[in-house]
Symmetry: C2
Subunit: 391 residues, 2 copies
Amino acid sequence: MALSGIRIIDLTRILAGPFCSMLLADMGADVIKVEAPGKGDPVRGQGAMKDGFSWYYAQFNRNKKSITLDLYADDGRAVLADLLRGADVLIENYRPGVLDRMGFDADRLRQLNPDLIVTSVNGYGSTGPYVDRPSFDFIAQAMSGFMSVNGTVEDGPLRSGPPMSDLVAGLYAAFGTACALAARGRAGGQRVEASLTNGLISMLAYLSAEYFITGTPPVRTGNNHPIVAPYGLFHAADGDVAVAPSNDAFVRRFLEVLDLGHLLDDPDFASNDARMANRERINVLVNEKIGRQTVDHWIEVINKAGVPCGRVMGLDEVFDDPQVLAQDMVLDVPHPGHGDVRMTGFPVKLSGTPCRLRLPAPALGAHTDQVLRDLGYGDDRIDALRRQGTI
Amino acid sequence: MALSGIRIIDLTRILAGPFCSMLLADMGADVIKVEAPGKGDPVRGQGAMKDGFSWYYAQFNRNKKSITLDLYADDGRAVLADLLRGADVLIENYRPGVLDRMGFDADRLRQLNPDLIVTSVNGYGSTGPYVDRPSFDFIAQAMSGFMSVNGTVEDGPLRSGPPMSDLVAGLYAAFGTACALAARGRAGGQRVEASLTNGLISMLAYLSAEYFITGTPPVRTGNNHPIVAPYGLFHAADGDVAVAPSNDAFVRRFLEVLDLGHLLDDPDFASNDARMANRERINVLVNEKIGRQTVDHWIEVINKAGVPCGRVMGLDEVFDDPQVLAQDMVLDVPHPGHGDVRMTGFPVKLSGTPCRLRLPAPALGAHTDQVLRDLGYGDDRIDALRRQGTI
């Protein structure tokens, strides 16, 4: 696998950090998730549960090992130091400064392992006036400007449905870690950082470019494309169909499929500017045609004309969709004691070193003994650590 | 830099592919963007323009070189073959099969360069029933289920403001490429693929886990957290404040800051289940307190209590925010002939091999001669290619 032989010590919890380490584990890295004895990652008890088992945890912690370790105890921190000596990467999502106060500041880490890559995922980055603030996906969506451009004018700023700032930050952190690994022969160890707010800011795309030129914040446009018409959701006889004719050539093909090609001879609709000015009128004309047939019909004929088009799917439809299944985007993973757990598949496909499921999400501390023995700890020492509650 | 010495031939246009190659260029890769003579990437003429120059193009094509090459001409394809012989990575975002029909199928690519990593970004992946369909961000948002969980129950499915499926697919492709580079000593060349639909499907997080357990598609919850109350946007005297108390301990601290701690003694609000059942009532009580002070006041005191909290910012506020500026998330990049172009900064921070701005986005074909000379082409040959319109 692409990251075979890379050993990662993972101190993260909840979502952004565990997503980062999951992406690296899916690529073959040996990820050792360090969890608090008796409790573990709070996500073990969150989200949709079946028979006391969180499928949300199972999804985001596949391919990892779990050890318990009390990092508030000196003995626990000594074990962490031993783990770091033999590791390639440390991933953490504490607030900036917490790892330092735990006794693992930059100097100590360099002394333990000069080649260690230290990856941090946090709310605001590790410098600047807000560095000590707690963060959370919803707050990063608000403070990155994402909410200000998501939603409709009428309803006000809106968060995204999924926790995008967590996921984007986790993915950026995984990308940065992979780049640092690729550079390690030349660069040695270094610090990699991604934050919830910076990640979403970098995804404002043409909206930030528009603001930088005009000085005017973009308005929310709901499902209407800000600069192209007709475009968006149209109402077929049995549901909605999304159509995205992103330039004049596509608009012509789309209108011709609807027998509305003649509209392009009308000065009110001849240019994109004219169609934007008369968007409501052209949408009425388009909907009148679209309403006469089913979603399936339109998906067939509009795609055949080369115009991007698709069904607006609920998750029930997504996970029954033949394309989604053909792409292996649904996995059923046997979890001992919990039966098959369904989860989403691997979004990055590598032909030579493909991602695969090697381990189900671990029971809390399932690999503690094995990992400590690999460090050279004897049974007596492991028993002592267990008796005193350190592991 | 992390990817110094990595040479990338970039056939992509519009957004998902150019975002992937920008991320790799920001990390130090030598990216040669191949564009059609006389036209180039359509984004050169799209989005917010200033004096005929697209700042959207400038943002997503920084740190790249541009050469013109007619890939419909035999001579142009011969130049591409020469480029690929000396390259580490090829990135393309054609529909599956187009590169093959151009004469660069898997066998030919392997023959030209067995160590070449071939990265594809496309709509649906390269296998399955929809493989020949055109795609587009809006369609992937509809078909991934993202729209079904974004927005409010009342308003129906809603796309995200920014083009998230393009950006997530580009970021996944960059991550996969970096992993393939890290593996190359062992694995040699291989194919890396990310798609708009698969990328967003992988970001449904707890929403997909919930569906897999319950069999019921999640409902859109607007700004309300699906499983925690109180949570969301509250109305201060001069604007909205986002507050995310994600568990009981945070809810207690939040209510105590508001002098509403006594509510937790009331059976109607004592547990999260009770508060979810009485969400509207508790929101009224919270808003009554929040409305008495300014956003600034609440951000100060709620964060100080350790509860994640922030201002809902428009882009004007985001790009004036002291934290955003401290994180260098705004760059002013001198573009010869176009003055300073403002763009967003680097979302991944590497301490040892940091991202930096080496090149402004290139004029169309600005590096054609230099790149061809580096291939060993003489002036006569370059002139001939130019006369016949191949470059």
